[in-house]
């Protein structure tokens, strides 16, 4: 259990840790709620101390809570005195003093003096407690301060939890074009058409191939004499070659370069060069 030392010497116990608002510093992990009176505090450390306050209201709250002052019945003289002490320290240590601190000092003085001035009884009834506005502000500020801490304690996205997002392959999201069976048929038809056109080219290639075979046959038959028709063909080279060879033979005959004879039907066919000297 932590104990908070009070100015008047009494000690009050608070369960659990010292509230953050009261915490001045931690030395070796131990929280300090009061500046030791006889300790020399270097100006830099004091600066750190004062920087922990968010403004004059924050400082006043600190003083009020530290001294266990009843916030709804603030002893103005005492509070003003303490506040001025701190402000004076800040000033003498040449710390940057936010204007709001001085404004508050003036306000406190004014309240104090209003309380001190004797008022005629009649007026006193009508007049509000000069402290009322200050108390209202202190109460409101403290509420917001504590609310801020509570908000920070809520589970926060990024800090305390993360969103769940599975990796969805975004490229699949591109809608692929719909393909119809009709499209396929159309594609096939155009393919055939193109194939026929290329076949034309293929035919011309084969014409060349026929000519090549014609030369081969002529060369073969130059030695003269008759050659049996079948000997001009090599079945092992496949049907297309056979066809080309046959075409070549027919072409040679047409050009009167080859003689093809058959003694009788179903007899072997013989070929020979048309202008062959051989006999």
């Amino acid at each position: 259990m932590r104990e908070a030392a009070q100015r008047d010497g009494t000690v009050s116990s608070t369960p659990g840790a010292v509230p953050a608002a009261m915490l001045l510093a931690k030395v070796h992990g131990e929280p300090f709620t009061d500046l030791p009176q006889d300790l020399y505090i270097p100006p830099d450390a004091l600066e750190v101390f004062f920087e922990t306050f968010e403004g004059p209201l924050d400082l006043l709250l600190y003083l009020i809570r530290k001294a266990n002052i009843d916030i709804l019945d603030i002893p103005m003289a005492r509070l003003t005195e303490q506040y001025m002490e701190y402000v004076e320290v800040m000033r003498t240590k040449n710390l940057e003093l936010a204007a709001e601190y001085l404004v508050m000092a003036a306000m406190l003085m004014e309240i104090k003096s209003r309380l001190l001035l004797p008022q005629p009884a009649a007026l006193r009834e009508d007049e509000h407690d000069p402290r009322a506005e200050l108390v209202r502000r202190l109460v409101e500020y403290e509420k917001m301060k504590l609310a801020g801490q509570k908000l920070d304690a809520l589970p926060q996205l990024g800090r305390d939890f993360l969103p769940v997002e599975i990796w969805a392959e975004q490229t699949l999201a591109h809608r692929l074009p719909q393909v119809d069976i009709v499209d396929l048929q159309e594609a096939w038809r155009s393919l055939l058409v193109r194939a026929k056109m290329t076949q034309h080219h293929r035919v011309s290639r084969e014409e060349l191939s026929v000519r090549a075979h014609m030369s081969l046959i002529l060369r073969r038959l130059r030695s003269g004499g008759f050659t049996e028709f079948g000997e001009l063909f090599d079945p092992t080279r496949g049907v297309p070659v056979l066809i080309v060879n046959f075409l070549a033979v027919l072409e040679l005959v047409r050009e009167n370069l080859l003689e093809v004879t058959q003694s009788e039907p179903y007899a072997p066919i013989y070929v020979k060069l048309a202008n062959a000297q051989s006999e």
């Binding site: 369960p15 209201l57 709804l72 917001m144 769940v164």
Partner: protein, 200 residues
Amino acid sequence: MLSPSEIKIVLEAALLAAQEPLPIPEMRKMFDEEIDGDILRRLLEELREDWKERGAELVVSAGGWRFRTRVSFQKYLERIHPEKPPRYSRAVLETLAIVAYRQPVTRGDIEEIRGVTVSTEVIKRLEERGWIDVIGHKEVPGRPALFATTKAFLDDLGLRSLQELPPLEEIARTLELTPTQTPATQSAPDEPATAQASPV
């Protein structure tokens, strides 16, 4: 016509893949048939039950439903997620609280409550986070901007509406163990200024 269990699985898939909280009207769009919001809600509760023992949990906030990792595992996850958001300063938190509980407020209102000038930095920080927004202007000289919290603010903190904000503290008269109960001294629990609840 999908069976309830099929609907539930579709919901699960959608929620897992969602990059933001998914509200019920959005979920209904996924199906050909009209599905009653109450039925969806019932299935979502079932789904929440189904996931009770898993590393992620199904939660509902202002923007809708979403899967998120459990807070208890964050200490493991953060070792491999180095981009940790920085802690917010007291100034930021106090400003946020004022906007959340007293919205809509102007900068001047915030300054009045805090007793110090509000730095542009603080407002910017909260705007960049997407937690506060300018929702209008006060019709007074200067036409100052009015700030309010956003839906993202509620989503990021897992709240369904401003009603779910932690209640404002009752102020103790003095630093005692318990606040005093005398009527003259006790301030009533505060409610947030406006309600932004929308059915999800």
